[in-house]
């Protein structure tokens, strides 16, 4: 029983370490922005803590009145995943708004450019009116 427990401990430590290295690599390569990496680093730290502190999960479960400790893992994991998904939806919505604004600007600049190429006068006076009214 004791040897089995040690094996799983080593496996989870290894897994957490590999995960951490993966996250670091992604940040170094510039493929993951720091603000999104924080949550992943936090997750790895928690994984490592529980891999070392074997009695921890059991003790916390008992403290919370959870009789089957693994269910606490599922509960916490699912909760964390849901929170992160909501966060991603927020990020996504923000991106969509930014894309919309950029598209508007781009369409107007395309028009301005083709007007200039066609030798049409730019409506600078009118643009000034709009700014003034703000």
């Amino acid at each position: 029983m004791a040897s089995l427990s040690i094996t799983i401990q080593i496996i989870s430590l290894l897994g957490a370490a590999i995960f951490m290295i993966m996250i670091f690599r992604l940040i170094v390569q510039g493929r993951l922005r720091e603000e999104y990496s924080i949550i992943w680093i936090l997750c790895t730290v928690i994984l490592i803590v529980f891999a070392i502190w074997r009695k921890g999960l059991e003790q916390i479960s008992l403290l919370l009145g959870v009789y089957y400790p693994p269910s606490l893992i599922f509960l916490a994991a699912i909760f964390a995943i849901i929170v992160f998904l909501v966060h991603l939806s927020v990020v996504n919505s923000k991106l969509q708004n930014q894309i919309k604004d950029l598209s508007h600007e781009m369409a107007m600049m395309k028009k301005e450019l083709s007007d200039i190429r066609a030798g049409m006068p730019i409506l600078e006076a009118n643009a000034a009116v709009a700014v003034h009214e703000k």
Binding site: I99, K100, S103, H104, M106, A107, M108, K110, K111, L123, A125, N126, A127, V129, A130, E133, K134
Partner: protein
């Protein structure tokens, strides 16, 4: 807000266009005829929302201004591009007219008149005030009635044709729309938005036609999604703006 007539207004007709190669040329030509007939200071701005057919090629050959969006934004995003253009370039009035020919150009004057006389900030062309012309399908009218009740509940104003896209905005409205306009199905939601900004919304009877080409953005499969999305949009825009209402009306 004082009732002020606009003298010799500069008008921008915004025509959103998504795959309307069959109808867009006629729409633009008819608007240009009305422009000549009534001697209006009017420009037409077609907003091509990333059409996948040959609409863009057709538009280039027409007597009109155009914006060519680099990505597909949907009707609300396309319209907002047009309204931003109108606001920045100092137009006094912006009118939405669909690119599918549903909104006949000879009805344009009916929408413009109350606007020029300064009777409203938002003028909506309604199919249902005088039950003439194309009345939409029975199922859609049920939906439209539902939005009327919802809008009435929230802003205490009865707008009979809240899904009508045939509408005119003055500069006061353009300033608001310049900063926020709903994306996907903007018509019913924007009415609540305007109501909370205390804009004067005036409905005038117009006759609409059946679309002359292309397909509606709302098919039966999407109807449920449409109702849900718009209801949510209306409720949230209400909650968002209600808290600010005191500041808005000042």
């Amino acid at each position: 807000m004082e009732t002020q007539a606009i003298t010799d207004p500069r008008i921008l007709i915004v025509v959103p266009c998504f795959n309307e190669e069959a109808a867009i040329a006629t729409v633009v030509r008819e608007i240009n005829q009305v422009k000549l007939q009534f001697n209006l200071r009017l420009d037409i701005l077609v907003v091509n929302d990333c059409s996948t057919d040959s609409s863009m090629a057709v538009i280039r050959g027409l007597n009109c201004l155009y914006l060519d969006l680099p990505v597909n934004l949907g009707i609300g995003g396309a319209m907002q591009a047009g309204y931003k253009y109108a606001y920045r370039n100092g137009y006094d009035i912006a009118v939405q007219m669909d690119g599918d020919g549903q909104h006949p150009a000879n009805e344009l004057i009916k929408i413009l008149r109350p606007m020029v006389e300064g009777r409203g900030d938002v003028i909506i062309g309604s199919r249902f005030l005088e039950k003439a012309g194309f009345q939409s399908t029975a199922l859609r009218r049920i939906g439209i009635n539902y939005f009327r009740r919802l809008n009435f509940m929230l802003i205490r104003r009865a707008i009979y044709d809240s899904t009508s896209g045939f509408r005119a905005f003055n500069r006061r409205t353009l300033k608001i729309v310049n900063t926020y306009y709903p994306d996907e199905y903007p018509e019913p939601e924007s009415i609540v938005q305007f109501g909370l900004y205390n804009l004067r919304i005036v409905e005038v009877p117009v006759t609409m036609r059946e679309r002359q080409g292309g397909v509606s953005s709302i098919n039966t499969g999407r109807a449920v999604y449409y109702m849900l999305k718009v209801t949510l949009g209306i409720l949230f825009v209400y909650i968002r703006l209600f808290n600010k209402r005191v500041n808005l009306t000042n």
